[in-house]
């Protein structure tokens, strides 16, 4: 300011200064305002600010800065830069210093770094530290720097995590890639290096793999990686018993990850494990199970030794992935080991020479795969039914002695023959075993039956003395072996057999006595059997390589060579050149060869057979033949031989003599056919030729007509026999026997023989006639034949005498007939047939048919009668029965016709009588009592009433009368009727009653049955009126037999009540009986009867489905029998007392009255029926139409407004014709009975009010009969 004044122009200056001041003040105010704003803005961002005096080292910070790291500003003031340096992360401090330096040097516009600062609570927070130099000294060194802290922990953590997980992803991918396609022998190394990779990533101190033994009892540390400075443990951790880690093992087996961040915080259950881990100074631990299948086979672990570590969940899950990759790799290694073993086995098997080697290789491979160390292979012999141990290893001699062989019926064999693999602990198998077996102490055992073509041929048994269980993985491997070795074992077995067979063949070859040899294309011997060397005198081997010609005599070499060449060309020749021994002797042989392959060369297989014996026998044969020829020449029979073409090859001299040829003619291949006449030649050729064709028939007749050279003929028999040479027919030896002489004698004999034969045949013929044949001639009567059973009771002699001579047994009435007939036959030549009766010894009548004819001599004199008798009783009886039946049918048809007629007439008569009676009545009523016309009308009325009565009877006969059938007892009615009749029966007549009181009831109108009894009894005593006698009434039950059923076709095979009324009166003849039931037929006087009685009886019985019969003998009496079907029902009155029957079934009930509906529903439901009630018939019909199967029966009222019960019933029957319908009606006075209502579609009619018992029995009856008769509606 002083300065300014000094320069003068003060006012100007001061004004300028003032202005300047003002401006400064304004600027200051602006600056202050701006600083305040800035401060507020900073405050709002919650950023920490710092001001570093680089000269003093003091640091000024705001409250945000302090709060960021957990402090109150006052708590840490005053600050120096040292505080900041102490709290900054050492790793970041260095970088910060570098950056600051660069900034101080002016290389950067500002300083900026993301760094970590320790929070008051010990953890790190991330801040973005930014700053700029604010002032510098003269030399340019910074003196003051200001800047800010902004917390970025959230972002940093997220970035870290992202980075970490990317790294892990990379890690997993890397691991996976590493193991893909890795050869199994490199897996271990790769696991090792992978452990390192993971260990480093998760910052573990130690990283390792443990694997369990197969039975999970032991575990081995198999791989390990240790961080620098950490002691390896792998060599110490072998064969650790898993039992000492129970908690641990349980977790692993459950496939759980064990993560222990701080060992001291391990749960109580893991105390045993804790102790062990503590001894290894382990602070934290992470264990991940290794599993390729469902159960882990080991684990991968991470230890933190130097300081405790808490692995975040992401790490754990990534490690699990990595664990999976390693587990798979290790598993693959195991599997590949097995596959390799199998492959090795396959290679070994293919190279194996012997059977034993094969088995041994299989066994070793099984050991290798299973990790078990003992076992054997059994071979199954299905023929001997045994198992034999063919190969074994690792087993004691004692054990083998016990288990070396099993028969099929032992448990061991059964187990194997099932064909299923068995894995077990031997001790728990439960097989019976001896002490030696127990001493052996086998534990885990695998029994693997080996099948080939579906049959168990062997069994591979592998066992372990250490393992308690066959390893799972081994099972698969063993099964694979078992399935593969079937063929190998079978093949090996076969080879052994082939080899044995080959040895057998070789010895056979050598034992054959013939000379066997093999020669090559040049004719040199390649091989021969022992006979060649021994018999031809060669040393063994000496014959090989020699030419075949050397074995033949030199003089016949040419012949042998030709044969050899032909043989080599493939021709089938037999060489007969003999063999020559070393000593020069000749052996006659036949040599044959066949072409073949030997050691892949075309060769000839040859056989030379010594034929010395053959030659000798041929010589003998020739001699024999000479001998035989000499003999045939001596024979006096023509003999010759033919070849197969029937050319004569030899004939004896008799032969040429017989046929007039010279012997040379004949032997010059003359045709043997020419020895017969042309007609016989075919047969002859056939007979000779039978030897050519075995199937052709030999003619039975060997007789021929021979033809001599001169043309003359003679009969001869021809015999031939085939000539067989070397098993083949080459011709025939033939012989003729001249029949010329014998023919003559035969002719003479033939005539007498024929006659005898005819007589014989005739006799046999008549003996077989089913009757008796007789002949009457001058010398008397004779019975020629008597067919047994034809005429019983009589012998031939009796017939001869009593029938033909005295006629004694002929029925007296017929005797004359026979006598007359015989006389007539004597008079002229004729035939007659008689039918008459004879009486047997016990008086039985038998009918005879007698057919006879008279014989006369050529001169016309009567010579006799030939006749034949038949017993025709059966036929006659059948005819009689038929006639009876026909007559009965006729009668019943006639009665039927008359009934119809009478019924019609009666109906009309009633119509006519109505006005007659009515008007007569009117007349009577209109007239005074004393009027004569009154009397007349009264008489008309009386007559009309008689007529009415008569018509009523006719109606009864014609079954048109009203009746009221009901169950009734006939016994009671009989008693009642007799009581009524007795007074009118004269004392000369006795009455006998044979009444069976046990007889059942019948269904009939009691008043009608009463009428029947009265009518029959009246007839009976009227028949005895003059003479007196006995009236017998019988009543019993019978069941008609077959005979009765035939005569009375209306009867059935069921019980009937039989009522018979017999008298001992005058009786009736056939004609009377025939018409007895016809109306108005009577034998009595007009006063005694109308002629309607029996016709009424007939009508009543027939209407009751019964039958009436009559038997009568004139002068002896008559019996009427009535048959009426019995019923089990009791008399009607009894029903009401009965309890209602229970039943079941579904009923549709229709009535328009509610009261009835309610009552019936209640009633029927109580009885056990299901009831559906409807008030409307229309509704009921609709209901039934929709579901006809719902109802078994319908009960309907008759009168209903919409539709009557009858109409409803008709409609229902249209839907189901078999439906039972009960109609209830309130009308009528008649009692409720079964009515013929079917016509109207109604099964039963019941009158209201309906009784419960009646309703129940009706419904039950209908349901049962419906069920029986027709099947329910389908």
């Amino acid at each position: 300011m002083d300065q300014l004044f000094s320069t003068g122009n003060l006012e100007q200056e001061s004004s300028a200064l003032r202005n300047r001041l003002k401006e400064l003040e304004r600027k200051l105010a602006l600056a202050e305002q701006s600083a305040e704003n800035l401060s507020m803005a900073l405050d709002a961002t919650a950023a920490g600010t710092w001001d570093w005096d680089m000269v003093t080292g003091s640091l000024t910070v705001n409250a945000h800065w302090a709060a960021m790291i957990g402090y109150d500003l006052k708590e840490i003031s005053p600050l120096t830069i040292r505080f900041w340096q102490e709290h900054c992360h050492p790793d970041d401090l260095e970088r910060s210093n570098d950056l600051l330096r660069e900034h101080f040097e002016g290389k950067t516009d500002h300083y900026e770094l993301e760094l970590r600062i320790r929070h008051k609570e010990g953890h790190w927070i991330w801040v973005l530290d930014r700053g700029k130099v604010f002032s510098r000294d003269e030399s340019g060194n910074p003196t003051r720097m200001i800047g800010s802290h902004q917390e970025i922990t959230g972002r940093k953590t997220a970035e870290e995590a992202l980075k970490w997980s990317r790294a892990f992803e990379r890690l997993t991918t890397t691991i996976s890639n590493r193991f893909i396609n890795l050869p199994s022998d490199e897996i271990d190394g790769m696991v090792q290096s992978t452990l390192q990779l993971i260990g480093e990533q998760v910052q573990a101190d130690r990283c390792y793999v443990f694997q369990f033994s197969e039975d999970l009892t032991l575990m081995d540390n198999t791989h390990e990686w240790c961080a620098e400075g950490i002691e390896p443990q792998i060599d110490l951790l072998k064969e650790l018993p898993t039992g000492t880690f129970p908690w641990w093992m349980q977790k692993i087996n459950n496939n759980e990850v064990i993560h222990i961040p701080i060992l001291s915080a391990m749960p109580e259950e893991g105390s045993a494990e804790k102790e062990i881990l503590e001894s290894q100074n382990i602070q934290s631990l992470l264990v991940i199970p290794l599993a390729a299948g469902p159960s882990p086979f080991g684990y991968i672990g991470f230890d933190a030794v130097r300081e405790a570590r808490n692995w975040p969940p992401e790490t754990v899950s990534v490690l699990k992935l990595a664990g999976g990759v390693i587990a798979n790799a290790l598993q693959r290694k195991m599997v590949e080991t097995i596959i390799q073993a199998e492959l090795d086995l396959a290679i070994k098997l293919s190279a194996t020479a012997t059977f034993d080697q094969t088995l041994n290789n299989i066994l070793r491979c099984a050991f290798k795969i299973s990790g078990m160390e003992a076992g054997g292979i059994y071979l199954v012999d299905h023929e001997k039914r045994t198992l034999t141990l063919a190969c074994h290893e690792g087993l004691s001699q004692e054990f083998i002695a016990c288990t070396g062989s099993y028969s099929f019926d032992t448990e061991q064999a059964e187990l194997i023959l099932k064909g299923e693999p068995v894995y077990a602990d031997y001790t728990t198998l439960g097989l019976p075993c001896q002490e030696a077996v127990r001493n052996e102490k086998p534990r885990a055992i695998a029994i693997l039956p080996v099948s080939y073509h579906g049959e168990v041929i062997a069994c591979l048994n592998v066992t372990s003395h250490k393992l308690s269980r066959v390893p799972d993985l081994a099972c698969k491997g063993l099964e694979t072996i078992a399935s593969h070795i079937g063929a190998a074992i079978a093949h090996a077995c076969q080879e052994e057999q082939v080899s044995a067979a080959k040895n057998n063949l070789e010895s056979l070859f050598d034992t054959i006595d013939d000379f066997l040899f093999i020669i090559d294309q040049e004719g040199k011997v390649i091989a021969s059997n022992a006979a060649v060397t021994s018999k031809l005198g060669y040393e063994p081997g000496d014959q090989i390589g020699r030419h075949t010609l050397e074995f033949h005599p030199e003089e016949r070499h040419q012949e042998a060579l030709t044969a050899l060449q032909e043989m080599l060309e493939g021709k089938s020749v037999t060489c007969t050149v003999p063999l020559k021994t070393r000593t020069g002797e000749l052996i006659p042989v036949d040599t044959k060869v066949a072409r073949g392959i030997w050691d892949k060369q075309p060769v000839l297989f040859g056989i030379s057979r010594n034929i010395s014996d053959l030659i000798n026998s041929e010589r003998a044969r020739l001699e024999n033949e000479q001998h035989f020829r000499g003999l045939t020449e001596l024979l006096p029979l023509p003999l010759f031989e033919v070849d197969t073409d029937l050319n004569i090859t030899y004939s004896n001299h008799i032969c040429s003599e017989t046929f007039s040829y010279s012997q040379s003619d004949m032997q010059d291949r003359m045709q043997a056919r020419d020895l017969c006449i042309p007609e016989d030649r075919d047969k002859f050729a056939l007979c000779c030729g039978t030897f050519n064709d075995a199937s052709c028939a030999v003619p039975e007749n060997n007789e021929y007509t021979c033809l001599r050279k001169d043309g003359t003929r003679f009969p001869a028999l021809f015999y031939s026999m085939p000539i067989i040479s070397s098993g083949r027919i080459v011709g025939a030896s033939c012989m003729f026997v001249d029949l010329t002489e014998s023919k003559k004698t035969e002719e003479a004999l033939r005539n007498s023989a024929l006659q005898e034969r005819i007589a014989q045949e005739f006799k046999s013929l008549i003996d077989n006639i089913p009757g008796a044949v007789y002949r009457i001639n001058s010398s008397g009567a004779s019975m020629l034949s008597m067919y047994p059973d034809a005429l019983p009771d009589f012998t031939r002699e009796e017939f001869q005498h009593d029938l033909l001579e005295t006629y004694g047994i002929i029925h007296p009435d017929d005797r004359q007939l026979v006598i007359d007939s015989n006389l007539a036959l004597r008079a002229e030549r004729k035939s007659d047939t008689l039918t008459y009766r004879i009486l047997t010894r016990n008086g039985e009548v038998r009918w005879i048919e007698d057919r006879k004819t008279s014989t006369f001599s050529p001169k016309g004199e009567f010579t006799g009668i030939d006749g034949i008798l038949f017993d025709i009783t059966t036929r006659i009886r059948a005819q009689e029965e038929k006639q009876k039946l026909e007559s009965r049918l006729r009668k019943s048809q006639r009665l039927e016709t008359i009934g119809t007629l009478a019924g019609g007439i009666a109906h009309d008569f009633n119509n006519i009588l109505t006005p007659i009676l009515g008007y007569a009545e009117m007349g009577v009523m209109s007239l005074a009592f004393d009027d004569v016309l009154h009397d007349y009308f009264s008489e008309i009325m009386l007559a009309a009433e008689r007529a009415q009565n008569l018509v009523s009877q006719i109606l009864t006969f014609s079954r048109a009368q009203e009746s009221t059938p009901a169950p009734m007892s006939v016994q009671a009615i009989v008693n009642e009727a007799l009581k009524l009749l007795r007074p009118s029966i004269p004392s000369s007549i006795t009455i006998e009653q044979l009444i069976d009181k046990e007889c059942r009831n019948i269904l009939a109108d009691p008043s009608q049955i009463h009428q029947v009894i009265i009518n029959l009894c009246t007839n009976a005593f009227q028949a005895m009126e003059g003479s007196g006698g006995k009236l017998k009434i019988e009543l019993n039950e019978i069941t008609p037999d077959a005979t009765m059923l035939k005569v009375f076709p209306k009867l059935r095979h069921r019980p009937y009540l039989r009522l018979s009324v017999s008298d001992t009166g005058i009786g009736m003849d056939e004609a009377t009986i025939e018409r007895i039931f016809e109306p108005f037929f009577t034998t009595k006087s007009v006063e005694k009867g109308t002629g309607l009685g029996l016709s009424v009886v007939h009508g009543i019985i027939v209407s009751c489905n019964g039958e009436i019969t009559v038997e009568s003998t004139p002068g002896k009496g008559t019996t009427f029998s009535i048959f009426l079907p019995v019923i089990d029902e009791k008399v009607a009155s009894a029903i009401e007392d009965e309890k209602p029957l229970q039943g079941s079934g579904s009923i549709l009930f229709i009535d328009d009255e509610i009261a009835t509906v309610e009552m019936m529903t209640l009633m029927l439901s109580k009885l056990g029926f299901t009831i559906h009630a409807e008030k409307s018939p229309i509704e009921a019909l609709r209901l039934y139409r929709n579901a006809p199967e719902r109802f078994d029966l319908v009960i309907t009222d008759l009168t209903m407004p919409e539709m009557t019960g009858i109409q409803l019933s008709e409609e229902l029957r249209k839907i189901n014709p078999g439906l039972p319908v009960i109609l209830m009606t309130g009308y009528g006075q008649n009692s409720d009975i079964a009515l013929p209502l079917d016509h109207y579609g109604i099964s039963r009619l019941l009158k209201k009010p309906v009784k419960l018992a009646q309703m129940a029995s009706t419904v039950n009856e209908l349901l049962i009969s419906n069920k029986n008769s027709s099947p329910a509606l389908s």
Partner: protein
């Protein structure tokens, strides 16, 4: 009373008519069931129907059933001489199916009048 008499036998019809007219009833005659039903349809005020059972064209049981359907309150007397082989017991059936009385031919005038009285 107005009485309809149905019978194919003219003599019977005439006798019944004569008997009933004497008692001051009005009588309409019909030869068979079909004719009887036709009359019933035309003449509403008929009190009693007397019908034979066995008739040509339309027999009595059928007629009774139809009459009942047309007029449940009308009185019916069934008459029959019975007879003819076939369904039996016509009068019993008529009784059950709605006849108020039955009469067996031949009957007297007294019997006829008695049965009419009984059903009144």
């Amino acid at each position: 009373m107005n009485i309809l008499v149905i019978d194919d036998d003219a003599a019977v019809r005439k006798f019944i008519a004569t008997t009933l007219k004497r008692e001051n009833h009005t009588i309409i005659e019909a030869e068979n069931g079909t004719e009887g039903i036709q009359i019933l349809q035309q003449e509403r005020d008929i009190d009693v129907v007397i019908t034979d059972l066995i008739m040509p064209d339309k027999e009595g049981i059928e007629t009774i059933m139809e009459v009942r359907k047309m007029n449940p309150s009308i009185k019916i007397v069934a008459i029959s001489g019975g007879g003819k082989v076939g369904p039996e017991n016509y009068l019993v059936l008529a009784d059950a199916l709605g006849a108020n009385a039955t009469l067996k031919k031949p009957f007297s005038g007294q019997e006829l009048l008695m049965s009419l009285k009984l059903i009144e």
